[in-house]
């Protein structure tokens, strides 16, 4: 399969057919939690240098099983690979999560809109992630930390089910040790070995220090968590055109043609998954939209 010239930074990898997956090799697989793994996927030789915008996703393909939309959760500049964090939930994600190093995983993408990190230049940045929502926001942190002085205060809140469900655990400890970033974690319940916070992510916001008038917020997690967090940020003075959410819907094609991912007028695969809160808040308020 011959590649075209280097693809634009957010366009899909060249492939003979819009639906055809490109065979990537699983270079490394690391278990994050009991049911979640991170996969490092290396392109076949000849594919132009990979690039993506934080927030975009690929359709990952398990031969004989099917495809699933999975956010890109890692940088490619150094590793020349896509990193995806997959939770084993249905038969496709399970097949992906149990692939062994050396095996081939199909990749189609990147697709979708990314986090507008450039809008946060010179601003305070608030990142709130719930559950596996930490995966699509991790690339924002890499981007920001790679140019740290270009941004103001950086506040991260990450909520998970229990301490055992915290993903990127070692990396989080390193981030928490930094003085140029504040990384709060909280869980829904914990046992006796947890000395951290217990409670929903919004309970951590009063402890986050940011200037609401000069803040951009990136939210990713269950929809109700994002809605309540956006409301809490707004109550604190952050304008709704500076708050961004990453939505999720059933996806089959990622091309804007199968119709499954529609959310009001938007195709989440093509007009999203990252949306400006101001533009979608009216649709978030509609039941079963």
């Amino acid at each position: 399969m011959a590649p075209e010239a280097a693809v634009p930074s957010s366009g899909p990898i060249a492939s003979p057919h819009p639906w055809a997956p490109v065979p990537f090799t699983l270079r490394r697989r690391s278990a994050e939690t009991a049911d979640t793994v991170s996969l490092v996927l290396e392109p076949p030789s000849g594919v132009a240098p990979l690039s993506f915008r934080p927030g975009q996703f690929n359709m990952l393909y398990a031969f004989g099983v099917g495809e699933a939309a999975i956010s890109i959760s890692g940088p490619t500049e150094e590793s020349g690979a896509f990193v995806h964090t997959v939770r084993s939930a249905g038969k496709i994600s399970q097949a992906l999560a149990t692939a062994a190093p050396g095996e081939v995983v199909g990749v189609r993408g990147p697709y979708g809109t990314g986090w507008p990190v450039e809008e946060a230049l010179g601003q305070d940045v608030v990142v709130v992630a719930g559950g596996l929502g930490i995966a699509p926001v991790r690339p924002i942190l890499y981007e920001i930390l790679g140019r740290r002085t270009a941004y103001g205060r950086v506040e991260v809140v990450y909520g998970a089910r229990t301490p055992m469900d915290l993903v990127y655990y070692e990396e989080i400890q390193r981030w928490r040790a930094r003085t140029d970033l504040r990384f709060q974690t909280t869980v829904d319940t914990a046992g006796r070995d947890w000395y951290g916070d217990v409670g929903v992510v919004t309970t951590r916001l009063p402890d986050a220090r940011f200037d609401p008038e000069h803040t951009v917020a990136f939210l990713c997690g269950p929809e109700i968590m994002m809605k309540l967090t956006a409301q809490a940020l707004e109550a604190r003075g952050v304008r709704d055109d500076r708050i961004w959410l990453s939505l999720e819907r059933n996806m089959k094609c990622a091309l804007g043609v199968c119709g499954h991912c529609q959310f009001g007028p938007e195709f989440v695969c093509r007009d999203g998954p990252v949306f400006r809160y101001r533009e979608i808040r009216r649709f978030l308020a509609v039941r079963e939209l």
Partner: protein
């Protein structure tokens, strides 16, 4: 009763978020029965079933609300920190704590004697109403948060 270290600033109700804007006169009356408390890491502030004889107002540290049941490990369902208040079991019968609260790090609080507090609020109905209208939103938010935790949003 703890011995107060004179080099550490005294805790004042007026400095606490819950009491912001309350009349100085009321704060003075409440303050008469407010005693400084200090809890070391691992120490229980309150124990389930014990008489709930204080309204605990947290100034520093971190407190875990825990449920203990014989058939499962000890579970923390909420942590609280500076600017928050501990509970409301002191307000109505049977005036017994319904959870354990444990300090996860050195914690300083003011404990307002519950009997005195109830008598004060009863004797001053307008202040009593205002006090409850501060406490109710705390309880409501706690309940709403608990519902979200119950939904197990990050579950499989």
């Amino acid at each position: 009763m703890s011995t107060r270290d004179p080099t550490v600033p005294a805790l004042r109700l007026a400095d606490h978020k819950f009491f912001h804007g309350m009349s100085g006169e009321l704060l003075a009356v409440l303050g008469e029965h407010a005693h400084p408390r200090r809890f070391e890491t691992g120490q229980l502030l309150v124990r389930e079933g014990d008489p709930a004889d204080e309204f605990l107002v947290l100034f520093e540290g971190k407190v875990a609300l825990e449920i203990l049941s014989p058939d499962r490990p000890r579970t923390t369902i909420q942590t609280l920190g500076p600017g928050e208040v501990l509970g409301w079991s002191w307000l109505f019968a049977p005036h017994r704590w319904r959870l354990d609260a444990r300090a996860l790090k050195p914690t300083r609080a003011l404990g307002i004697g519950a009997a005195h507090l109830r008598a004060t609020l009863e004797a001053r109905p307008a202040d009593g109403y205002r006090f409850l209208m501060r406490l109710l939103p705390v309880i409501a938010q706690r309940l709403e948060n608990t519902r979200l935790q119950l939904m197990d949003l990050h579950g499989p």
